[in-house]
Amino acid sequence: MLSVPYLGTEMYGMDIPEIAERISLKFVQKGCNVDRQKIEPKLRRLIEEFGVPPAEAERTVQNELFREFGIVIGPGGGGGGSEKKAIAEAVPGEWVTVEGRVVALSRPPSPAISATGVLSDESGSIRFVIWSKASAPEIRTGTWYRFESAVVDEFKGVSNLKVHSGTKVTEITHEGALIPNVRKISELSPGVGNVRAKVIQEWEANHERMLQTGLLGDETATIKFVMWKEEGKERLVPGTVYTIYYAMVDEYNGRLSLNLNTATAIPEEGDLAVSSGESHMEGALVHIAPGSGLIKRCPVEGCNRVLSRQNYCPVHEIQPKYIYDLRIKGWIDDGIKTNEVLVQREMVETLTGITLDQAQEIAENNPLGMDEVFLRIRDRVLGRYLDCGGREIDRRILANTCAFCTFNPGKHADLLNRAGGEQ
């Protein structure tokens, strides 16, 4: 709900005629004739006798009159949000009136919603949701609309324009073209985004409704993308560069991903030097997380998820014929920053000298079972300096090289000079 700031009655006492004027104007615009002489006493009574804040009194009187004239408005409507705003300035919690072009529509997730999509003006883009109850006109892509008294709220960290029964949606004409601002992947924030990127990986879809998922990259970073099955949606071609307009940028657990169902992806000529995503870090392994050591994976093809102790896969339930694997999940720390690191089996075997077969044997012949493997691996790698390289996704390094650091006499000599040189 819109919160009404209380500004004090004394100050506003003299504004009562002004408020009355404002209200009557609104009704005149809608073609209703109201008597200003009837509005003023109502306001005065609320403000002076009942100490109602003027803004709230204005809203109350206005709603009363709306009802009287049979004008349907949403809760709190009319109290604000009749001034046109730039889309980029719409802040959650506000009632706004915006004008923009519907640049994308996506399939409504529920019958209670008649349309969802993206609305854009020169300042930016925002996602919108039109409730079925709003009885808004049919929305077409590419057309400009005025959304009067819509509510901006926040859902999963993303601003969203809600069109309810009090919102007036009208088709308008607009001069001038709309040029979306294409940004770098590293600059994206939750909401709506435009990028120029290359499809660098295609992953196996892990849901029957999923059309495609994988990784997009540009010079600055990489980001996961997903596309759900929907009429007219086509897969992206791996290795191709696309300019992608109006993708939904979602956030989950602090990681961003792109939902391309609202997006238009235009294939481009040429190539893009994609950030390899490779990073390199030398530091101490300061923590080994649970889930390291000997683990069991789901055997269903393409799943490979880690099973719980009870052999339970979050998707495929109980899987007694699991596959064993070895890995280390931990934190590598160079004293300035700390990064999560994931080390795969081959490197765990080299670092610890424990092979997967040996780990299985340890687990089967030891009262502590898999915990014993965890402890032995921990004792061999925790607190050591490691040199890890690999793809970095959202500050997690998926190591494809990982080795213990050794003492570097050259560095020793340099540091001695540095420490002693300036004395």
Binding site: P190, A284, V286, H412
Partner: protein, 197 residues
């Protein structure tokens, strides 16, 4: 998209960030006298301000585990001493650090250990201030890890000395500690000199 969009901080910064483990020699940490919280929340991280001018919520130390003492009856905890080339760290682990406590219980001195932990300041009944490290883990390591740590810590300490006056934390430290950088350079030099050439 717009300047308004760009000024909005990226949301991923709001998510949890693990505090890095600082590298500091024992004789510097021993001199720390300022502890503060970043924020008013009970869960805001607590920092010890290092004399060379950096806040420090966590440390990574490697040294010789020379002594351990089991204390307490109901609430057992361990106190241990870990020596580096410049001095001694006081390390403790109680029932709130079960992993570290079990590890320390099994370590027999002398041994090289790597300790990850959180430093904090305590005042003794006679008014002296003690810096102690509450261990999160303590693992026996090879001598080479200790040698790497001395290089690493020497480098980080010199970096901090070079940044004095250039960061807000170092300006604050300058007011609190009035250190002489020459003394700290000498400490680093001496630590490095003790390694085999």
């Amino acid at each position: 998209m717009t300047p308004a969009d760009q000024s909005r901080p990226p949301r991923r910064d709001l998510s949890f960030e693990r505090e890095p483990a600082r590298r500091v020699f024992a004789s510097e940490l021993r001199e720390a006298r300022v502890q503060f919280r970043d924020g008013t929340d009970e869960k805001s991280p607590s920092y010890v301000l290092l004399p060379t001018g950096e806040r420090c919520n966590r440390v990574f130390i490697v040294g010789a585990f020379t002594e351990k003492k089991r204390q307490g009856d109901q609430n057992i905890f361990y106190r241990a001493r870990v020596a580096d080339p410049t001095g001694t760290f006081s390390v403790m682990a109680g029932s709130y650090q079960p992993e570290a406590m079990q590890q320390i219980a099994r370590i027999e001195p002398p041994a090289f250990v790597a300790v990850v932990g959180k430093p904090s300041l305590y005042e003794t009944p006679d008014g002296a201030i003690i810096v102690s490290v509450r261990a999160e883990s303590a693992t026996i390591v090879e001598r080479e890890v200790r040698d790497c740590w001395v290089l690493d810590t020497a480098q980080k300490t010199l970096d901090r000395i070079d940044a004095i006056g250039k960061t807000p934390d170092s300006e604050r430290a300058a007011q609190e500690y009035h250190i002489d950088p020459v003394v700290y350079r000498k400490m680093v030099y001496d630590a490095l000199s003790q390694l085999k050439m």
